[in-house]
């Protein structure tokens, strides 16, 4: 190992070494004098190490690969610019990037609060219906009529639970 540490931002020799505790997690950072000044490290009141780490990790991400969200076309660079995501699906697309940020940002990384029970129940019924309908058409295509009849009964059952709402 080299004797002197390098600046985490510009890789000059680091002379400022920071340790900050955020949400009981220890963050360490080594900076050269210029970067330390530029980031306002010398002003203890207005400086957040986690904010700096967030930006640093965003910038070191491999920009070449730059995946796009298949549902909204959102790219990594957009997130860097705005700090916001494009659609709910982005959380799956950019999970590898977002997940480590959450650790610094929140008390935990797993939701433990309220769950929209009614909406989720509705969604699982809807998903079940879609699967059954696919199974049904597949069964008809391959002339498995006994299976088809069973699927049809199940579909009717699910629709009844829905209150007859999705007619298709």
């Amino acid at each position: 190992m080299a004797s002197s540490l390098k600046c985490s931002l510009c890789s000059k020799p680091a002379t400022v070494h920071l340790t900050q505790i955020v949400n009981s997690k220890v963050h360490k950072l080594d900076l050269c004098e210029e970067c330390a000044k530029a980031k306002g490290v010398t002003d203890p009141a207005g400086f957040s190490l986690s904010g700096l780490l967030l930006k640093a990790s965003l910038n070191t991400e491999d920009a070449g690969a730059s995946p796009r969200c298949e549902q909204c076309g959102f790219a990594l660079n957009d997130f860097r610019k705005t700090g916001r995501l494009g659609c709910p699906h982005c959380y799956e697309t950019f999970n590898a990037l977002v997940a480590p940020l959450l650790d610094n940002m929140h008390k935990g990384t797993t939701h433990t609060g309220k769950v929209p029970q009614k909406a989720l129940a509705r969604k699982s019924l809807y998903d079940r219906l879609t699967t059954l309908e696919l199974d049904l058409s597949e069964a008809i295509k391959t002339e498995r009529y006994e299976d088809a009849a069973r699927y049809r009964d199940e579909i009717n059952q699910v629709k009844q639970t829905f209150g007859g709402k999705p007619a298709e």
Binding site: N23, R84, G86, Y91, M105, G108, T112, P116, A119, K123
Partner: protein, 390 residues
């Protein structure tokens, strides 16, 4: 309690009334100034907001005009179908004048961000102004419940019920591990921000506020001025709220905030007691001068008015003014803001100097019949009615 202008319009039977409109809300005094404020001297208002998005739709910042318009329509219908919002006022932001929007911001019913939003942004406000829902702000829905005084539990109950009722009509974007999915990862999980507006004049006067802010920040809570990020703390009013939303339940977040608020209340009460004990002449001088200026000045900026009103409020807490005067002060905190002053004035487009004159006139009128401060030694007991969450 004696009737003041801050009371809700009397004789209204909500069942027979037509839906509220934004114009009718603007003509009504802000909910902030409800009489219940008198019950808790230090916490002016409690506010909780939930960030929610619809599954399978782009977040507002990424959505095209037509998509935003469709979301607005879907959300409006869903909101109108819930019991507390049956008679709610609703508007698209582009239908509202700049002044109307400013007044809504001053009442904390919409954010500055929504006020500046263009097409597809909307707001729905319950007739009593305790619920306001922003549509297509940063998230599809920003649901907010507002109560006068220190009422975390009641406020949570109200907003939780509305949120659950909305589930009947809307499919929220939700992940079992990340919770409610929001445009900004800082709101993930519960999407909940609970905040209290606190009046902390003694901590400011005795120079302890910086220390309090630092300690509160270390506990993962944010401290802001009256109008949120970047606003100054004129009137010694501070907003204290949770910063993290993921990894803890709503209940835990609210309890943790509540216990910190109790501690801050205690510190404020101690600081008041010390001021009364060690520095009564300086304290009485400040309160007396504030009273004099409010009764006799002819030019007042909103910042100065806030600071003077803050001292009168402190005086009321210390027993120098009648207990009932607190609700007048709380109403004036809002009604002396620039948008409200412009709204009260009959002349259009006042410049800042004319507004300052109008504001001073309004305050001279309000304080003309106000009793002079009574410093006859009872300035310690009245502060003890605090710290209890109602």
């Amino acid at each position: 309690m004696k009737s003041t202008k801050s009371n809700k319009p009397s004789g209204e039977n909500p069942r027979n009334n037509p839906p509220a409109t934004i114009a009718s809300l603007l003509a009504t005094p802000p909910e902030l100034a409800d009489d219940t404020t008198g019950k808790c001297a230090i916490v002016l208002t409690t506010r909780i907001r939930l960030a929610r998005n619809l599954a399978g739709h782009r977040f507002p910042g990424r959505a095209a005009g037509a998509q935003r318009a469709a979301i607005l329509e879907t959300c409006r219908e869903a909101l109108a179908a819930t019991a507390p919002l049956k008679r709610a006022a609703q508007a698209s932001i582009d239908e509202l004048s700049e002044l109307d929007r400013q007044i809504l911001v001053e009442r904390h019913l919409i954010s500055r961000e929504l006020s500046d939003a263009k097409n597809g942004a909307g707001v729905v406000i319950s007739p009593d102004q305790t619920l306001s829902i922003m549509i297509n702000e940063e998230d599809h829905l920003r649901i907010q419940a507002l109560r006068a005084g220190f009422q975390l539990k009641n406020t949570w109950a109200a907003i939780d019920a509305l949120d659950t009722a909305l589930e009947d009509h809307l499919d929220y974007a939700f992940s079992p591990t990340l919770g409610y999915l929001t445009a900004c990862p800082t709101n993930l999980g519960t999407g909940l921000r609970a905040s209290a507006m606190m009046h902390l004049p003694a901590l400011v006067i005795s120079g302890q506020m910086e220390k309090v802010v630092r300690a509160v920040n270390q506990l993962g809570l944010a401290v802001r001025g009256l109008f949120g990020e970047g606003s100054d703390a004129s009137g010694s009013i501070f907003q204290i709220s949770n910063q993290t939303t993921l990894g803890e339940s709503e209940d835990t977040i609210i309890k943790r905030l509540g216990s910190v608020l109790h501690t801050i209340i205690e510190h404020e009460l101690n600081a008041r007691a010390r001021l009364v004990e060690n520095d009564a002449p300086r304290l009485h001088d400040k309160i007396g001068r504030a009273y004099g200026i409010l009764q006799h000045s002819h030019l007042l900026t909103s910042g100065e008015a806030m600071n003077l009103l803050s001292l009168v409020r402190l005086g009321a807490d210390l027993g120098c003014f009648p207990e009932t005067s607190r609700s007048l002060v709380d109403r004036l905190f809002i009604e002396t803001q620039p948008g409200h002053i412009q709204h009260h004035a009959t002349k259009p487009d006042l410049d800042p100097a004319q507004r300052d004159a109008f504001r001073a006139t309004l305050l001279r009128t309000e304080f003309a019949a106000f009793p002079p401060p009574d410093f006859s030694g009872n300035t310690d007991a009245k502060t003890q009615n605090d710290g209890q969450e109602s």
